[in-house]
């Protein structure tokens, strides 16, 4: 009790120091970020073709979205993509991180090899590689024909194209893997030693120590992956050459937003889409933060 009181008093006295720590971010936020954000919010209520001054049109952009069939396609494509690829990517990253955490020779090389796909990121070469792998005459079909399965143009068929992008996202799990590795490292070794003394097996150690103590990092990866995947742009942009095709099957939300803003010169409409996305993401993130108190275990007691 006494300790807590003293901490509070100390913290209160240090509020100005807290702001000192926050100062660079505050300058950046007010100087570089907030202005453009507010102006995009304003633009979402205008018609703005980028080359001529914007004209106030009230809610018409938002109303237009309700009747836009491409917008509906984009939302559907993106949600499907998010709900499949976020869990698969996170699970793949966590499993590989556990596998490559410790106890084997040559782990550094393995980790690097597993990270290399993520290094390729949005490289122009990726589009070619993916068509080469999943195209009609691609390696995957060669492999399938080995088992007598007749291949399809996976990357170019409207029913399958999105799934090749999901595989692409899963293949690039490197960033989440690294964050998991860092999280695993932060777990004090002596907890495992103590558990081993108590006779707990590897699996029990994983369940009782690794996973609970990893929850802040799992939570981080979940929130970030959700946000980043909802905003996915590059993979579809390069593989479909900016079209989101065939037939809108890979039309990500942000790709459609980009098309509207830069290709069709409707930045007002694009801004409306962007702020709708912020609302959606804000709601999802808030839900995650609310649930986090039930499953995320913080060493600092759990209060922000």
């Amino acid at each position: 009790m006494q300790m807590a009181k003293r901490r509070n008093r100390a913290a209160g006295n240090h509020a100005w120091i807290a702001y000192l720590f926050l100062l660079p971010w505050l300058i950046g936020f007010f100087g570089l970020v907030l202005g453009p954000m507010i102006s995009s919010l304003y633009l979402s209520f205008t018609q703005y073709n980028l080359l001529q001054p914007p004209q106030w049109t009230g809610w018409s952009n938002y109303e237009g979205l309700l009747q836009d069939s491409n917008f509906r396609d984009a939302v559907q494509v993106t949600l499907t993509y998010v709900f499949i690829s976020v869990p698969t990517q996170l699970i793949a990253a966590l499993l590989v991180a556990l596998l490559l955490n410790r106890g084997l020779r040559g782990l550094g090389i393995y980790r690097t090899v597993y990270y290399i796909p993520s290094l390729l990121g949005g490289s122009v070469a990726i589009a070619l590689l993916w068509k080469n792998l999943f195209g009609m005459n691609g390696i995957v079909n060669d492999f399938l024909s080995f088992f007598g399965v007749e291949g399809r143009g996976w990357v170019t068929h409207p029913d399958y194209a999105l799934y090749t992008l999901i595989i692409l996202a899963t293949w690039q799990f490197g960033a989440s893997m690294v964050i998991f590795l860092a999280g695993l490292k932060q777990i004090p070794q002596e907890l495992y030693e103590a558990a081993a003394v108590d006779g707990a097996g590897k699996f029990r150690q994983l369940r009782m120590i690794s996973l609970p103590l990893l929850t802040p990092v799992i939570f981080f990866n979940l929130v970030i992956e959700l946000i980043k995947t909802m905003q996915s742009f590059t993979s579809s942009y390069i593989v479909s050459e900016g079209t989101g095709g065939p037939i809108n099957s890979t039309l990500f939300y942000t790709l459609y937003l980009y098309q509207r803003g830069f290709s069709y010169f409707e930045m007002g409409y694009a801004s409306a889409m962007a702020w709708l996305l912020v609302l959606g993401l804000g709601a999802m993130t808030a839900v995650l933060f609310l649930t986090s108190r039930y499953w995320v275990h913080y060493e600092d007691g759990g209060k922000l």
Partner: protein
């Protein structure tokens, strides 16, 4: 027992290598393609080159006239390195405030910080460009560097908040009893214990800045200031002659620094940090 352990390890190795080949296949394809003559890259189906040439590397290195790819490497390296340092310092400061200190309006700022990640960059590009234009910073490295100095990469703040919160608070408290103030705790306890997070931040900042095409193409106009991603695109005219061989060759070269940096730094994520000395 010893035998079966060995076998188990062997199996794990084989499994990892098997999956690794799958992970690497596309890169191998790029490596082999970079040694093929231009006219065979797309018309020859197999991986193995029928004819080997270094021409793509020469042609790629000497991008245009007197400019070589070396210049782009240098520019990219400078930008990435400065961004790493900026992110390490300012993002960790902000994260420390959010994770460990109490101050008015904290929840509001935290929400604002998260919101900056949620808004797609496409709609803030134009106003942001206007800001930098009015500062006279177009065609300099400043629009790429200065935002990082002011911790606008909220991703890393959030990352470090999560890691800092994983550090037991008893440590701060015993330090407070020893008479340490917040600044000392930040320097002597939080930062050293969060090395995995700091290394992660460094790796990601370096690599993501290195690969970032969209903001670099926007702000850099003349070839003297070009970076690697812009250099790679110089070969590509989607409607006319493109030098794909040169793109592959230079992509391989540009992969090397990032892969090396990853290889060197990844071991600091997982190696030799113990909290034993601090406890008790």
């Amino acid at each position: 027992m010893g035998m079966s352990m060995k076998w188990q390890k062997m199996l794990v190795h084989i499994f990892i290598i098997g999956v690794g080949i799958f992970m690497l296949y596309p890169v191998l394809w790029m490596v082999f393609s970079s040694f093929k003559p231009e006219r065979l890259i797309f018309s020859e189906p197999g991986l193995w080159p029928r004819e080997v040439t270094l021409e793509n590397y020469f042609k790629g290195w000497h991008v245009v006239r007197d400019t070589t790819f070396g210049l782009f490497f240098k520019n990219s390296f400078m930008i990435s390195a400065v961004c790493v340092i900026a992110n390490l310092v300012t993002c960790s400061m902000a994260a420390y405030a959010f994770a460990r200190m109490k101050f008015p309006l904290k929840k509001l700022w935290f929400a604002c910080m998260l919101m900056t990640i949620m808004l797609p960059a496409h709609v803030t590009l134009v106003p942001q460009y206007s800001i930098f234009h009015s500062l006279g910073w177009i065609d300099t490295k400043l629009p790429l560097i200065v935002p990082k100095i002011f911790a606008t990469d909220a991703f890393f703040i959030f990352l470090m908040v999560q890691f800092f919160r994983g550090i037991p608070r008893d440590l701060d408290e015993s330090a407070t009893i020893d008479g340490c103030g917040p600044i000392k705790i930040y320097m002597k306890i939080i930062l050293p214990l969060a090395v995995p997070a700091l290394i992660t931040t460094s790796i990601f900042t370096f690599i993501w800045t290195w690969d970032d095409f969209f903001s670099q193409v926007l702000y850099l106009n003349t070839v003297q200031n070009f970076t690697v991603p812009l250099g790679l695109r110089l070969f590509l005219d989607s409607q006319g002659d493109s030098s794909w061989g040169a793109v592959f060759a230079m992509s391989i070269l540009s992969l090397m620094p990032t892969a090396t940096i990853f290889f060197i730094f990844q071991k600091y994520i997982v190696e030799g940090i113990t909290t034993t000395g601090l406890k008790g």
